[in-house]
């Protein structure tokens, strides 16, 4: 991209900001995926934090309808740590499906204690420090392999050749999934998160369900192989042997698999893309990084803050309550807009700047807080750390040569395309 592109982009952003400032606030619906496609959602959140931090929002999408948008860091922290008032059991996305609808999969992210605790505790040993140590070598080996086979002097899609490829390898490792079939994992991840009501390009619900059934069949086969074998350290074996999970039914198994595939997949994927884009837009930060690679330790959490791969998490009020002076009614749904909280200057200094050597880079909302805080957070960071170590070692220049294409979603904040060229 040249200087002219940057100027045009700045003009477009200034125009968007002005346009959003002129809109009546009652109509502002942050969940409209168009904001995210256009990369202008930040201006919506800026207004809401300032003018209506707990904002009654309305979506035209049936199943989303009305909800509260919580946009300040402090209020999000309060909701996230009050699971006794704000439940996860009705789901963690804004879309409500009719009861019995097959779209909803049972998973521990969408459960309250005590059931949540038992399932989470069965899964969390997979990312215990010892396991992370054991995987470091394999992660690095695969990262090196992928980076060394990237094309030189030609434009390619970073999302496909790097972000998807690396996170797929990692997920296959977690599950000890047959490597030759590993591309099924991001395929299923995309099926799980797809929603035709918000994205017309998504598959039809029946097609989606058929694909998810295939996923269940495949994993059931792996389960059956491993349940009769001695316990191993892959996720399927852990689920098959863990006392809290070995008797779970096929739908619950599918739900927890879905959670681990999505949680471990497109979030890390989008951070891998987002980090490169951020450094491209902040060249002075790349200079700092190159002259001091030890800054990777603070780069990684800053990338995760900047990208906020899951823009929000939804909760449902179990009783009438108050939040920042607003009356919340029992049954109301709320969106904790992590993306907005991560730009809240009341909590984070210079939040709209990408800074690779922040003093407290880990203080961000992207992993959530409270009992549902992301189980895989250290694994995500480890993958990003290794990626940047190997990138800095290998390539003096990594050029982003065009605009990214963003995913049409207000939940998953990500990219489908980023054109990159590595001279060599």
């Amino acid at each position: 991209m040249n200087a002219m592109d940057t100027i045009q982009s700045a003009d477009m952003h200034a125009a968007a900001r002005a346009r959003i400032a002129a809109l009546p606030i009652e109509g502002l619906n942050p969940a409209d995926p168009q904001w995210f496609v256009d990369d202008t959602e930040g201006y919506v959140f800026e207004r809401l934090r300032r003018e209506d931090p707990v904002h009654r929002s309305h979506s035209p999408v049936p199943g989303i309808d009305s909800y509260w948008s919580v946009t300040r860091y402090k209020d999000i922290m309060q909701v996230d740590t009050s699971h006794g008032i704000y439940s996860s059991e009705e789901g963690i996305t804004l879309m409500d499906f009719p009861p019995g609808d097959e779209q909803k999969l049972p998973m521990f992210i969408a459960m309250d204690p005590p059931k949540h605790d038992a399932q989470r505790m069965a899964v969390s040993p997979i990312v215990a420090p010892a396991n992370l140590n054991n995987w470091q070598g394999l992660i690095r080996e695969r990262t090196v392999k992928v980076l060394d086979s990237l094309p030189r002097n030609e434009t390619f899609n970073w999302v496909d050749l790097v972000s998807i490829e690396l996170t797929t390898y990692m997920l296959a490792t977690l599950f000890d999934f047959p490597l030759e079939d590993r591309r099924l994992l991001p395929h299923w991840s995309d099926m799980i998160t797809s929603n035709k009501l918000t994205n017309p390009d998504a598959p039809d619900p029946q097609v989606r369900m058929a694909e998810l059934r295939k996923m269940l069949e495949y994993f059931t086969r792996l389960w059956n192989e491993r349940v009769n074998a001695p316990p191993r350290t892959d996720l399927i074996s852990m689920l098959a042997h863990g006392p809290a999970t070995r008797n779970m039914g096929p739908i619950e198994f599918m739900g927890n698999l879905a959670l681990l595939i999505v949680g471990g997949n497109d979030t890390t994927r989008n951070s891998m893309t987002g980090g490169l884009l951020a450094l491209h837009h902040h060249p002075q930060e790349m200079t700092k990084l190159r002259s001091n690679p030890a800054l990777i330790d603070s780069l990684v959490p800053e990338i995760i803050r900047w990208q906020t791969p899951l823009a929000y998490m939804r909760r449902t009020a179990l009783a009438d309550t108050q939040l920042a002076g607003k009356q919340i009614k029992k049954g109301d749904k709320l969106a904790m807009w992590y993306l907005s909280g991560n730009r809240d200057e009341a909590a984070i200094p210079s939040p709209d700047r990408f800074i690779v050597d922040r003093e407290r880079p880990r203080q961000h909302l992207s992993f959530g807080f409270g009992i549902h805080r992301c189980v895989g957070n250290r694994l995500a960071e480890l993958q990003l750390k290794i990626l940047w170590e190997e990138l800095l070692r290998r390539f003096e220049v990594i050029e982003v040569v065009g605009e990214p294409k963003r995913v049409r979603s207000s939940f998953v904040r990500g990219f489908s395309h980023l054109p990159v060229r590595i001279p060599g």
Partner: protein
């Protein structure tokens, strides 16, 4: 001013002295003691300030809160002496406190 010693998983020690009322978590993070993260800033919301407190000291600390108990369920290698450092306020009565740190925060 109360002094506290942090012992790392590999045996290294860091002793810091802090004003009374400082939480054990801030005692570590303000003094860049490696091994305590405190990602949530001390809100009992992340369990990344996990420490092990030996029995005789443990008895001298207040009881764990309900939230602290819950968050401790998230840590790998929970033990009897497990505490979250953000929930312990250092006072002169706790001068000389020694705590052990886990292999890593989760």
């Amino acid at each position: 001013m109360p002094k506290v010693t942090f012992i790392s998983f590999t045996g290294g020690t860091h002793t810091v002295e802090v004003p009374p009322g400082t939480t054990l978590m801030h005692a570590a993070t303000d003094n860049r003691v490696p091994g305590i993260d405190g990602d949530c800033g001390g809100n009992c919301a992340c369990a990344t300030c996990h420490v092990y407190v030996e029995q005789t000291w443990l008895q001298r600390l207040g009881a764990r809160t309900a939230t602290e108990e819950e968050m401790l369920n998230c840590v790998p290698e929970r033990q009897d002496g497990s505490r979250l450092a953000c929930q312990i306020a250092l006072t002169d009565a706790l001068d000389g406190l020694i705590v052990n740190m886990p292999e890593a925060q989760h």
